[in-house]
Point group: C2
Chain length 233, copies 2
């Protein structure tokens, strides 16, 4: 279910966007060659195996990027927030998507035509450099994650995921509640463990006064302790 003509100016305005290095003229070219789409919570933006048609910029909402592994077991690879790109890896590698994207909240995205994007890369070398830097940073993140997920124990993995969510989405006004509301299953799929173990370990953290739980609301009471658990297990 897609609604056309929705505002996603966010993508062009935000200072945290890779687009900041574009000239006004270049920004206009992109503006003239983009379309906006809205996705309701739970809707799929693209699926593993699909062919990318352009660059997708998340203007508003939250999106999980996940891969289907052995026996359909899901592994969340990345969590996207506005303003950030989605599906750019496959686009730049000239491959089909190797992961799927799903809106975990109502989300608005901006689609930028592939051809225009590549033109821009050739036109503006600063822009190209920014993309190179983003990809390199993301690759470092992925390499770290590989080691974390394979070597840390359950407690460490979960603690790291909570810190990651905190870093990515920040806190609500109370300064402690993580600004994202995931199911226990999603938390498990982010941390490479079963849902039961995610639930169990979250409860343990709560009983140790490291976090507090209220449904899907997770509040971090002791960042330091959480960091320690993430490091030491």
């Amino acid at each position: 279910m897609k609604h056309k003509d929705i505002n996603c100016d966010n993508c062009f305005i935000s200072k945290s966007s890779v687009f900041t290095v574009l000239t006004d003229e270049e920004k206009n070219i992109i503006r003239q060659n983009h379309s906006c789409t809205h996705y309701k919570k739970g809707e799929i933006i693209y699926k593993e195996g699909d062919k990318p048609t352009g660059l997708i910029c998340l203007s508003d909402g939250k999106v999980k990027i996940y891969k289907e592994g052995v026996g359909g077991r899901e592994q969340i690879v990345r969590m996207a927030k506005p303003v950030g790109f989605i599906g750019y890896r496959a686009l730049f590698a000239n491959e089909n998507y190797i992961a799927s994207a799903l809106a975990i909240e109502d989300s608005t995205v901006c689609n930028i035509d592939k051809k225009i994007l590549f033109e821009m890369i050739h036109r503006n070398t600063e822009f190209a450099s920014n993309i190179i830097k983003s990809l390199a940073t993301e690759l470092g993140f992925s390499n770290n994650r590989t080691v974390t997920l394979t070597q840390k124990h359950i407690r460490g993995r979960l603690a790291e995921s909570l810190l990651f969510l905190m870093d990515t989405y920040g806190f609500e006004e109370d300064g402690k509640t993580i600004r994202v509301y995931l199911s226990r299953e999603d938390i498990a799929n982010l941390s490479n463990m079963t849902t039961s173990n995610a639930i169990r370990t979250l409860s343990t953290f709560a009983s140790e006064n490291i976090i507090s739980l209220d449904g899907r609301k997770i509040s971090i009471l002791d960042v330091r302790a959480l960091g320690k658990v993430s490091e030491m297990g």
Copy 2:
């Protein structure tokens, strides 16, 4: 132990290099701003935490890129072959190295000055595009690996590693012996398992006539079966 003035023309000549899109003039600029270094088997090229000084191109030899994880446990992130780049991720992300590089065979590398490289990216957009594509491909590889290493069982992980080594380094003249000679420990660190389990599982594969073993020589007798084990466990 580094020896200066060693030939690494390979890096500029090879058609599989990202440098192919450079003009002769650009190639000369790089040639004039490079230095060659030789490393003996077992020598470290750079260590996790070091600051990159330039782009390193592996002209000859074989190199493993690995991270130290929990309790010093090593995870091999990547295996490099000529002609290929090493340590470019940290350079492009403008970070310190997050992994170490070690020559597993006598190796010759070519060091290209950081400043010259970035100039080249700004000069030649085709070159920049190539780098973007390489990074995006590598990121896909890393994401796949994360899922593989966390979800597949020992047999599947080892089978995948053997296929990976086969793809990367190819066969000796006999058409079946993998052209790289790793210790069982390295194979274990590539496959996220203990050395004992690598040894044990290799023996099992040999007893199933999927591979044959002769010291560090590993010959693949049944690629198909190996692929099946990699897929199914």
